[in-house]
Amino acid sequence: MTTMNMVQAINHTLDMKMSADDSVVLLGEDIGVDGGVFRVTEGLQKKYGQERVMDTPLVELGIVGAAIGMAINGLRPVPEIQFQDFIYTAFDQIINQMAKMRYRTAGRLPLPLVLRTPYGGGVRGGIYHSQSGESYFVHTAGLTVVTPSNPYDAKGLLSSSMDMNDPVIFMEPKRLYRAAKAEVPEEDYREEIGKAKLVHEGDKMTIITYGSMVPTVLSTVQKNNLDADVLDLRTLLPIDVDSIEASVKKTGRVMIVHEAPRTLGMGAEISALISERMIEYLYAPIIRVTGPDTPIPYRLEEYYLPNEKRIAEAAEKILNFR
């Protein structure tokens, strides 16, 4: 066991995987000599060479497109998009090539590929360095979407993602990169893709969240002594509907918390799944505590991000609903 933050845990996982398998290669902007703008790939180019850790020209669609071609031709690439906000310049490659290659070749050309990208606010990045675009990927059949909320899961989930023979969008909540430290085993382990984790147990309500919001939800629960299940989704696609079902049937009250804008954010799908399958178990409206339907402003960011106050107020509302 070593104490690691999320940056270290991801770096360590990439390192392990690269040393075990020559076909693992990394590519992205500034990931080599510079070690990545968040230092996630620090030291890896030195260790594995420029052929396995490539500093690419400034072109996201090239990074993603080349990664797809590498995966078709026997490699297991791990492309990085420097900020998730810039992924849209590669969006067609993701939607029309990456997500559909297995389908359109009837399984003949699977893509073992993990696209890593930091996302979310909390670092004063303003409109273009703070976006949480998970909905765009979760709506896209053929992708698997994963986001860890702590260093331990980061390693376990990234390892599992890199084992897959399907493309994974691995979203790293940048505000947690250095925020939380945890014990991370040096040895190999896996966290299952598609499984949520119950990170707090309670009977009166279910709070469903993921990524950067998990610590905020947990601290709110603790400070307010909320008798709540807290589910950390960890995988956003496919959604772990069984874990949601188990908890909601127990509590009958649901809150969903995320940073991304409300309209068609993850909260929408989770809410819809619940009212499709277990509406008769609900005692209260399903409440979404989310970023508003605006871009993320620079100076007023703290008003944008869901915080303890908003979560606590929503909890009160749900608990008092009759």
Partner: protein, 337 residues
């Protein structure tokens, strides 16, 4: 003695090339007719582009990897893709390698190293770059080819791919099939510069050939292949010819195209190469007749056989989105079937 063998080889090479051209043309004609009869849903004819494609194919090795586009039927046939593979794709029947999931013309033949065609044009180019990277990384001897139309040179993907391939000095040929039109847009309105000259913007080699001549295309393709295979980096090769058909069976070129090259025209590559091969003594009228008749017979026979193959089973629609079917797709399948 060596000379005789070479002559013999030359002759055979040309007969094979001619045969592929005729087979491709015959298939094209058949599918276009079948589309008019409502037996096929859609098609993008290749006619007019056969010679350039075959010239390229002649210069390639079996192991080379191709990221072709939707008009590369002659290229596929010359490289040995069975025409059943093509017809089954057009039919979208259950023998189709991709289970009928794609529109006609979106071929796949990975046994012959043809990757899968997508619709958004030129987005195969960055993939080819990645595949070429893998080739170089493993120090293999293969090269990679990505083909596309001249209109596709305007796309983001063209620029991204050529620049990355250049910077990484990859074994790749970007093969631009300039048929003069992108649907209704003539190449003069697409860009102000010859496509092959755009190589200069990336510091790579640019080459061009008369795409109506199998020999010229072969000659230039051989130069491209030698350049690439010897580690000197990417080549952008342009072949020029005419789009003799409509853009697709949904298109009406009389709305915009004044000078249409019809079959039998002096600019039809079948006419041009046939004449030349006869002059050079590779072909006789008799052989030509036999090849044409045989092509028609084969195409008709295979077409009829493939047409009888039934549609893929409904449940196949839900497969292959992922390696393992997730719960949501299973539920949707149950709901729908």
């Amino acid at each position: 003695m060596t000379e005789m063998v070479n002559e013999q080889t030359e002759r055979e090479r040309h007969i094979r090339a001619y045969g592929a051209m005729i087979l491709s043309r015959t298939l094209d004609r058949k599918i276009i007719t079948a589309q008019r009869q409502g037996r096929v849903g859609f098609y993008t004819p290749s006619m007019g582009q056969e010679a350039g494609q075959i010239g390229l194919s002649m210069a390639l090795d079996k192991d080379d990897l191709l990221f072709q586009y939707y008009r590369d039927v002659a290229l596929m046939i010359h490289r040995g893709v069975p025409i059943e593979t093509l017809i089954n794709q057009v039919m979208g029947n259950k023998e189709d390698l991709a289970k009928g999931r794609q529109m006609p013309s979106h071929f796949l033949a990975e046994e012959q190293n043809f990757m899968s065609v997508q619709s958004p044009v030129a987005t195969n180019l960055p993939l080819a770059v990645g595949a070429a990277y893998a080739v170089k990384y493993r120090k293999e001897d293969r090269i990679v080819v990505a083909s596309f139309g001249e209109g596709s040179s305007s796309t983001p993907d063209f620029h991204a791919a050529l620049n990355m391939a250049a910077v990484w000095n990859l074994p790749i040929i970007f093969f631009c099939e300039n048929n003069g039109w992108a649907i209704s847009l003539p190449v003069e309105k697409q860009t102000k510069v010859d496509i092959w000259k755009k190589a200069e913007a990336y510091g790579i080699k640019g080459l061009h050939a008369d795409g109506n001549s199998i020999d010229d295309s072969y000659r230039v393709a051989k130069e491209a292949v030698e350049h690439v295979r010897s580690g000197k980096g990417p080549v952008l090769m342009e072949v020029r010819f005419f789009r003799m058909g409509p853009h697709s069976t949904s298109d009406d070129p009389t709305k915009y195209q004044t000078d249409i090259v019809k079959e039998g025209d002096e600019r039809d590559p079948v006419v041009i190469n046939e004449r030349l091969f006869k002059e050079k003594g590779y072909l006789t009228d008799e052989v030509i007749e036999r090849i044409k008749a045989e092509s028609i017979r084969i195409v008709n026979e295979k077409f009829d056989a493939c047409e009888k193959i039934e549609a893929p089973a409904p449940e196949t629609m839900f497969q292959d989105v992922y390696e393992k079917m997730p719960w949501n797709i299973s539920e949707e399948m149950e709901e729908i079937l």
